[in-house]
Amino acid sequence: MEHGGLAVDIIKRNGRRPSEAFVREKLHDSIVAACLSTGMPVGQAEGIAKAVAEHVVGWLRSRPEVTSHDLRRIASKHLRAHHPDAAYLYEQHRSIL
C-alpha cells in the first residue's frame, strides 16, 4: 500500500501473521499513547509523536520491507531522546504480560 509516497511492508512478529503496509497514523497513535501513559499533556505527546514519526519515515525510505520489531526499535530509539519514560513504556508494551 502507498502511504504518503512510501510503500513499505511491515513483517509481523515471527512472520506468523501476514505482513501489512506501513501506516504512519498507526505509529503516531501508538507513540502518543505511550507518551500519555507517562502523564504528559496531549499537545506535547502529539508533538513528540510527530517528530519521532518523521525520523522513522526517513529511516524507512530506503527499505522496501522491515520487521515490526525493527520498526518498534527505531521508533523507541528516537522516542528515548525526547522522553525516556515514554520510550520505556513503548518498548515494554509487548512484555508486560
Binding site: S30, V32, A33, A34, L36, S37, T38, G39, V42, D85, A86, Y88, L89, E91, Q92, H93, R94, S95, I96, L97
Partner: protein, 237 residues
C-alpha cells in the same frame, strides 16, 4: 486447628495469591490503553474499578465453589491424604514458581501460553465499557488458576473446618487480602501516578516477588503439613 491458626493460614494463602502478577499486568495494560486512547480520568477509573471488582467476584466465587465441593465430598474434616496432597501441591507449585514464573527476558512476561497472553492483551485494548472490564477481571483470575489453585484449595480445606459465621469470615478475609495488590495499583493509577513508574517498579522487583511467592507457598505447605498431619499423627491437635 483453632480459629486463629485457620485464619492465619487463610491470610498467608491470600497474601501468596495477592503476590501473583497476571491480574496486575492486565490492569496495567488496561489503564495504559485507556489513558493512551485519551479517555477521561473518570472513564479510566470506571474501567479499572470494574476490573478490580470483577477479579474480586471471581476470587469469591472460586473459593466458595472449592469450599462447597470439599464440604460436599468430605464433610467438615477432609481425610489426611487430601491434606497431604494439598501440602504437596503447595510445595510443588512453590518450587515451580521459583523457576518458571517469569520468562527469561526483559519486562514482566509470565510463563503462560503466548496465545493466552495475546488474547488478554488484545481484550484489554478492546475493552471500552465497564461491563467488558468486569468480565476481563473475571477472566484474568481464571487465567491465573494454574498458580492460585494451590492456595485456594488449602484455604478451602481450612475454611470448611471453621464453625458457623467464621466460615464466611474466612472467605471474606481471603477475598479482601487477595485483592491488596490490585487495589494498591488501582489507588496509584487513580491518584495520577505514572504507569512507567509502576511498571519500572514491577520489573525491578520481579525476582523478589517471584522468590517471595515461591517461598511463601513452600513455607505454607510445610506449616500446614506440620500443623495438621504431623500434629494429628502425634496426637497433639
Amino acid at each position: 486447628m483453632d480459629i486463629a491458626t485457620s485464619l492465619a493460614i487463610v491470610t498467608l494463602a491470600a497474601l501468596v495469591h495477592a503476590s501473583f502478577q497476571l491480574s496486575v499486568s492486565v490492569l496495567t495494560l488496561l489503564s495504559g490503553h485507556s489513558i493512551g486512547a485519551k479517555r477521561s480520568h473518570a472513564r479510566t477509573l470506571r474501567l479499572t474499578s470494574s476490573f478490580v471488582f470483577g477479579a474480586g467476584v471471581m476470587t469469591l466465587l472460586l473459593l466458595s465453589f472449592i469450599s462447597l465441593v470439599l464440604l460436599t465430598i468430605f464433610g467438615q474434616d477432609a481425610p489426611q491424604l487430601i491434606w497431604a496432597i494439598a501440602c504437596g501441591l503447595l510445595i510443588g507449585v512453590g518450587i515451580a514458581v521459583w523457576f518458571f514464573y517469569y520468562r527469561r527476558e526483559k519486562g514482566t512476561s509470565l510463563w503462560i501460553p503466548r496465545s493466552f497472553a495475546r488474547h488478554l492483551s488484545e481484550r484489554s485494548k478492546a475493552t471500552k465499557s465497564a461491563a467488558e472490564s468486569f468480565s476481563l477481571g473475571l477472566t484474568s483470575v481464571i487465567s491465573e488458576l494454574l498458580f492460585i489453585a494451590a492456595p485456594l484449595i488449602i484455604s478451602g480445606l481450612v475454611i470448611i473446618q471453621l464453625p458457623g459465621i467464621w466460615l464466611l469470615v474466612g472467605i471474606a478475609v481471603y477475598t479482601v487480602i487477595s485483592l491488596i495488590t490490585l487495589f494498591s495499583i488501582w489507588v496509584l493509577i487513580s491518584s495520577g501516578h505514572r504507569l512507567s513508574e509502576i511498571q519500572k517498579w514491577r520489573e525491578t522487583n520481579k525476582h523478589f516477588l517471584q522468590f517471595a511467592a515461591g517461598g511463601a507457598l513452600t513455607v505454607l505447605g510445610f506449616f500446614v503439613y506440620v500443623c495438621k498431619i504431623i500434629a494429628d499423627v502425634a496426637g497433639v491437635a
